[in-house]
């Protein structure tokens, strides 16, 4: 039996060994390669060298965004306080004297430790001298900063210990117990745990240049023999210690937007009559171009890494440039990296980001290789920031043109209400966007108080009602109203629904038997008198006349002739419904047809087509579409895709095939709108009995069209529980004025202005459009003189510029 039992025991042992063998086999055979890779990866120490994010420039080369490189030299608190030297000394002493250590008395041990501590402290002092030399900070000053940090932290620590002990004592006394000295000593001991400041690094030198920062960064991981700091008679230390104990180089680089705020002087002599004066006004604009430029954030999300992976797999050249030999992405995201969050910063992230350098140390072979950082590429925009600043200044409510004024005849909005607006300026010849402004804008720095919003509720209400994060120039859908008539006329001409020279009966209303439906504005206004455009003009209008007087019946008729397919085709040929990708994120592509709630649109009815003839009904677009369409007309049907970023190469060009006579007729009509004092709807604004021309820029030809687009009221449901308590915060018609300006009879720039719920096109948007033309003159795009500068110079006042 004994032998059987021995066999049993041996079998148990064998079973145990077999289990170990199976597990070991799995680990070495199945998981071996992966484990080897993980283990070998620890033989490589990589130090990443930071790079510089690319700049964003405007068309003239002004730097709109750049990295202000700055690094802080930080040192761990334990090194600053001397604790590191003491701990290393004690640890080394214990190892070096291991065999006798337990035999030494406390005093003997302390003496040995002190000897070693001096050596380690000398090393720390030497590293401080080196840091002082590299950074150019005086050694005394550096040591003074060190002492200040230690002193402050110790005071904080003592204060916190005191507070903790007090809490414990109070609690004990509250429970009815007395506190002895022994208890107190115990409380102090238990409360003496380190505070956070005693465990982190502290900046001893701030704002060192990137050159110094990079150099120190390269040395952070270096180790030196401790014995190199031994001086006569002291025992050499047999270990390697960091060259700079506890040092970290922290990246304090900031993204700077130099043109974020500008001071602009406007000449009020060209303002609408009620606001006009001989003096200038200085307007300080903030967050200039922020919706276009966007911003960066210091937090990396998983989506950023995913986007990077997609970009690498899609762009071979980016992948080749980014990868190291061992397949590590030099542009990959780390915690606290800066990432483009919105606008150009986000859209051009992969170009702007740059690639880190990497210093690779092979710990086994001691080999070192280094790849230098590659700075991010610059991005040049087509915008002119000075023009942008002027346009933005014009839209500032303090100027008055974007506040509801008595002469606006706006019965839907209270006087003084701030109005939201958008302006786009496009260069006709190239399709480049010179200015793109949308107001209001959210403060980039989050300081809502600048906008007069001092409470969270006020901020929330502002966000819900005014949409400061929406770039109205490209992302908000508007009904075009009458400004679309130019498109309908040329489009209908192309599709053969309007003949050259044809005159359409101006009956005042489309349906002969329905005088209260589908009426011209003049008939609606003077219906009792039976006044029509025929009465006004003495003739039935042709295309030019119809545009000049903005005849609804004319364009209802065209809509009726075009029918659903035709009107849709007209708008489509001018890009409505096709996304215009400017590369700065979300934009509205325009639409024709009513949405069906499932991502599609319902068929356009004949009645819709008629309404769409005057830019109403199921048609939406943006100010960008407006300048693009008018520019296409100005080019005789040549469509150039608008651009915001200069990428080099030719723009996308196509010919939509507009008949030449139709283009001429349309341009003539638009010219008459602005320049026909008697009949042009966009020629003047009447203030009591005074006729004030909308445009007052000398020597500049202007073609344009007003629009008053009927729109749905803006309804806010504050508590989100349904429409019962909804509040109408805005209502009325959107005010449009789209113009072409140039000299010598050639349109050179297209300007679209829309004011949300502004009402009259000429009274509201027209005045702003005029100021944009003045801005083009001031910035040299059109001939003329900068009257504001002249007035300012003559009064001895400094002209506004970058702070």
């Amino acid at each position: 039996m004994f032998h059987r039992r021995l066999v049993l025991l041996m079998l148990v042992v064998c079973a145990g060994f077999l289990g170990l063998l199976v597990r070991m086999s799995w680990m070495t055979i199945v998981d071996g390669a992966a484990s080897r890779e993980v283990a070998e990866s620890r033989l490589i120490k990589r130090t990443w060298l930071p790079t510089t994010r690319g700049r964003v420039l405007d068309r003239t080369g002004r730097v709109l965004a750049y990295d202000q490189a700055s690094y802080d030299v930080a040192i761990g608190y334990s090194v600053l306080s001397g604790d590191w030297a003491s701990r290393r000394a004690r640890r080394y002493a214990g190892r070096a004297h291991k065999d006798q250590w337990d035999l030494y008395s406390t005093q003997e041990r302390d003496a040995i430790v002190e000897n070693y501590r001096r050596i380690y402290q000398k090393h720390v002092d030497a590293s401080m001298r080196t840091i002082a030399a590299y950074t150019g900070v005086g050694l005394d000053e550096l040591l003074g900063r060190r002492d200040a940090i230690v002193d402050k932290t110790e005071r904080q620590h003592r204060s916190i210990i005191g507070a903790r002990v007090r809490n414990k004592v109070d609690e004990r006394e509250r429970l009815g117990f007395s506190v002895t000295d022994e208890d107190l000593a115990k409380y102090v001991k238990n409360s003496s745990s380190k505070i956070k400041e005693q465990t982190v690094t502290h900046a001893v030198v701030e704002g060192v240049s990137d050159e110094v920062g990079f150099e120190l960064m390269r040395m952070v991981t270096r180790e030196v023999p401790a014995m190199s700091y031994v001086e006569g008679g002291e025992k050499a230390l047999e270990e390697m210690i960091p060259l700079f104990p506890g040092m970290e180089i922290t990246d304090n680089t900031r993204r700077v937007y130099p043109f974020e705020s500008e001071s602009v002087i406007l000449d009020r002599s060209s303002f609408p009559l009620p606001l006009r004066s001989d003096s200038t006004v200085r307007v300080h604009v903030e967050d200039l171009g922020s919706l276009v430029l966007g911003r960066v954030r210091d937090r990396v999300y998983k989506e950023d890494a995913d986007r990077r992976r997609v970009a690498l797999s899609a762009d071979e050249s980016l992948r080749v440039a980014s990868m190291t030999e061992d397949g590590v992405d030099r542009g990959r995201y780390s915690d606290h990296d800066r990432v483009g969050h919105t606008g150009i910063e986000a859209a051009m992230e992969h170009s702007l980001r740059g690639l880190r350098g990497v210093r690779t140390e092979h710990l086994q072979t001691r080999g070192v290789s280094e790849i230098q950082p590659s700075s991010g590429k610059d991005v040049r925009l087509t915008l002119d920031m000075a023009l942008q600043a002027r346009v933005r200044a014009v839209l500032d409510p303090m100027v008055g043109m974007t506040r509801v004024q008595p002469w606006h005849d706006n019965a839907d909005m209270p006087l003084g209400t701030e109005l939201d607006a958008a302006v786009v300026v496009l260069e006709v010849a190239t399709g480049e966007i010179l200015a793109m402004v949308s107001t209001p804008v959210a403060p980039r720095d989050g300081d809502w108080a600048r906008l007069g919003l001092k409470t969270d509720e006020a901020v929330e209400r502002f966000k819900n009602e005014r949409f400061p994060y929406v770039n109205r120039a490209i992302a908000k859908p508007y009904q075009p109203g009458s400004v679309a008539k130019a498109l309908v006329l040329t489009g209908a001409s192309k599709l053969g629904k309007y003949e050259q020279g044809e005159r359409i009966l101006a009956t005042g209303h489309l349906y002969p038997d329905k005088p209260n439906m589908l009426r011209s504005w003049i008939f609606k206004k003077y219906q009792e008198l039976g006044y029509t455009h025929f009465t006004q003009l003495g003739r039935h209008p042709d295309g030019t006349d119809a545009l000049m007087v903005s005849s609804n019946v004319f364009f209802f008729t065209l809509g009726q002739r075009l029918e659903a397919s035709g009107i849709e085709e007209v708008y489509s040929m001018f890009g409505i419904g096709t996304p215009i990708d400017l590369g700065i994120g979300m934009s509205w592509k325009g639409s024709t047809g009513v949405f069906d709630g499932e991502g599609g649109t319902l068929p356009i009815s004949p009645e819709d087509a008629i309404q769409m003839g005057i830019g109403q009904g199921p048609i939406t677009w943006t100010p960008l579409h407006a300048v693009d369409a008018y520019s296409t007309i100005a080019r005789g049907g040549i469509e150039i895709t608008p651009r915001l970023i200069q990428r080099g190469g030719m723009p996308e060009v196509s010919n939509i095939g507009l008949p030449g006579w139709a283009v001429r007729m349309t341009l003539d009509g638009l010219y008459e709108v602005v320049n026909n004092a008697k009949d042009g709807t966009g020629n003047h604004v009447t203030y009591d009995t005074i006729l004030d021309p909308v445009f007052n820029v000398e020597g500049i030809d202007v073609w344009g069209k007003t629009g008053t687009a009927t729109s749905s009221p803006l309804v806010i449901d504050p508590d989100g529980d349904g429409p019962m308590e909804a509040r109408v915060v805005r209502k009325g018609d959107h005010s449009w004025y789209v113009s072409l300006v140039g000299v010598g009879g050639t349109p050179e720039y297209a300007i679209a202005v829309v004011v949300d719920y502004g009402g009259s096109g000429a009274r509201v948007s027209g005045a702003i459009n005029n100021q944009v033309v003045h801005a083009l003159v001031s910035e040299g795009y059109l001939p003329g003189q900068d009257t504001a500068a002249m007035k300012t110079a003559s009064s001895g006042t400094q002209r506004g510029g970058a702070p």
């Binding site: 039996m1 004994f2 032998h3 039992r5 021995l6 049993l8 025991l9 041996m10 042992v13 064998c14 145990g16 060994f17 289990g19 170990l20 063998l21 597990r23 070991m24 086999s25 680990m27 070495t28 055979i29 998981d31 071996g32 390669a33 992966a34 484990s35 080897r36 993980v38 283990a39 070998e40 620890r42 033989l43 337990d102 035999l103 023999p225 047999e238 270990e239 390697m240 710990l363 086994q364």
Partner: protein, 438 residues
């Protein structure tokens, strides 16, 4: 006709078997299975010295010495161990067994001494939170190591002529003999060493003929009671159990925390793959993968990293050889005391190997158990060689006939044991030796 030669007492004490004029040399020649144990001991110790040097190589390089200091010390401990092996192998194990009670009591005394309040820290220095070593000035002494040997000797001596362990209540006394040191060692706290006593006791009871169903019942009761003992564990012990559970669940969140040591060991083991890697690379991997206790508890990972799966298999084969050799010695020994010694000792070794290698492979929580013969440490190596010496002792000193029947029972089904009372001389049931003729 054979003659009976009466040897001098001192020689009898050493030789024990002393058949006729047979010399120690001749006795050594017939050791047989103990050679396996000796060979395995030496091979494992040499592998250990190499691995310790590999693990501590960076210090060696900076110190400019040919070998790491710990490896050099391990060589010294080997020499001491060999001497101790010889010293313990020479006197008959029965003589050694005479001191079992004394050793056991002294061991208990030392274990209690470790826990006494007021003991100066220069005498009993806590390490890794455990008070398990006594500073003798020239070296540290771990009483629990001595306790292992004392425990085996005492249990062996207690059970050598008894059959009470065939009954359930007969397991109480051996259980108490085990429980006392287990409890004291657990309080140090050194749960790892304490956990070795139970498998050793069970192995001895199984070999001694205790009924398997009794032992199974005890194991089941212990298994059911184990969850109740969980709250009594210390926080770091609970954390280790939680850590191993996480590993089994594939949760790698503890790989930089509680499972750091185990994760690093597993990585190095896997990195060795089948045939291992070159020595320079192995040194680099061990150093820069920052394996804690690489020369100590986790030395198995260093061996497999260097020599791969084949090296690990060689290690297990050597341990199997050691254990098998010891059990063969037990099998060829007729004396009950010798048999028990030759079962209890390898049981300790086997348990220690399985737990330590299991720790390295991530199958068991880290409980601070060294790998016999291989891990760095004077106390551990010395104890292992003393254990080897005891096995050699049993092999050397084969009892002369007549033999007492030892642990030979008819069957396990509870039927009447066929064991008959024996007399010092003459035939008896189960007698399997030649009759002695005076």
């Amino acid at each position: 006709m054979s003659t009976f030669t009466r040897d001098p007492i001192w020689l009898r004490a050493i030789r024990g078997a002393g058949w006729g004029d047979q010399s120690i040399f001749n006795a050594v020649k017939v050791m047989n299975a103990a050679w396996l144990t000796l060979f395995a001991s030496l091979a494992l110790t040499l592998i250990g010295i190499y691995s310790i040097d590999l693990a501590e190589g960076s210090v060696r390089e900076s110190a400019g010495s040919p070998m790491a200091a710990e490896a050099l010390k391990q060589i010294v401990f080997l020499i001491i161990g060999l001497m101790a092996c010889v010293v313990i192998a020479l006197p008959h194990y029965k003589v050694v067994g005479l001191f079992s009670v004394l050793m056991y009591l002294v061991g208990l005394g030392l274990l209690i001494f470790l826990m006494l309040p007021g003991v100066p820290s220069w005498l009993v220095t806590p390490r890794n939170g455990a008070k398990a070593w006594i500073n003798l000035g020239v070296a540290d002494f771990q009483p629990s190591e001595v306790m292992k040997i004392a425990f085996v000797l005492l249990v062996a001596r207690y059970m050598r002529y008894r059959s009470a362990h065939r009954q359930l209540k007969g397991l109480i006394v051996p259980g108490i003999i085990a429980a006392i040191p287990v409890g004291l060692i657990t309080l140090q706290p050194d749960l790892g060493t304490a956990s070795l006593f139970v498998p050793a006791l069970f192995a001895m009871l199984i070999a001694a003929g205790a009924r398997l169903r009794h032992l199974t019942l005890i194991v089941l009761c212990a298994a059911m009671a184990a969850p109740a003992a969980y709250p009594l564990l210390r926080p770091h012990q609970k954390a280790r159990i939680v850590g191993i559970v996480k590993q089994f669940q594939g949760d790698e969140s503890g790989s930089h925390g509680i499972n750091y040591q185990s994760t690093r060991a597993q990585t190095l083991i896997g990195a060795g793959q089948v045939t291992g890697i070159s020595e320079p690379e192995a040194r680099a991997l061990v150093r820069y993968n920052s394996l804690p206790e690489d020369h100590n508890d986790m030395v198995f990972a260093v061996v497999v990293d260097r020599f791969g799966l084949l090296g690990g298999i060689v290690m297990l084969v050597l341990y199997g050889m050691w254990i098998g050799g010891a059990l063969l010695v037990a099998a060829s020994c007729r004396d009950p005391l010798g048999r028990m010694i030759a079962v209890g000792i390898p049981a300790f070794i086997a348990a220690q190997v399985i737990i330590n290698v299991g720790m390295n492979l991530g199958m068991l929580p880290i409980i601070g158990i060294t790998l016999p013969f291989v891990s760095y440490g004077g106390s551990s190596l010395l104890t292992c060689w003393v254990m080897t010496g005891l096995i050699v002792n049993v092999a050397l000193h084969r009892p002369r006939p007549p033999y007492r029947a030892s642990f030979e029972y008819a069957d396990d089904d509870g039927s009447q044991s066929s064991m008959q009372p024996t007399r010092p001389y003459g035939r008896s049931a189960g007698f399997s030796g030649r009759a002695v003729t005076r």
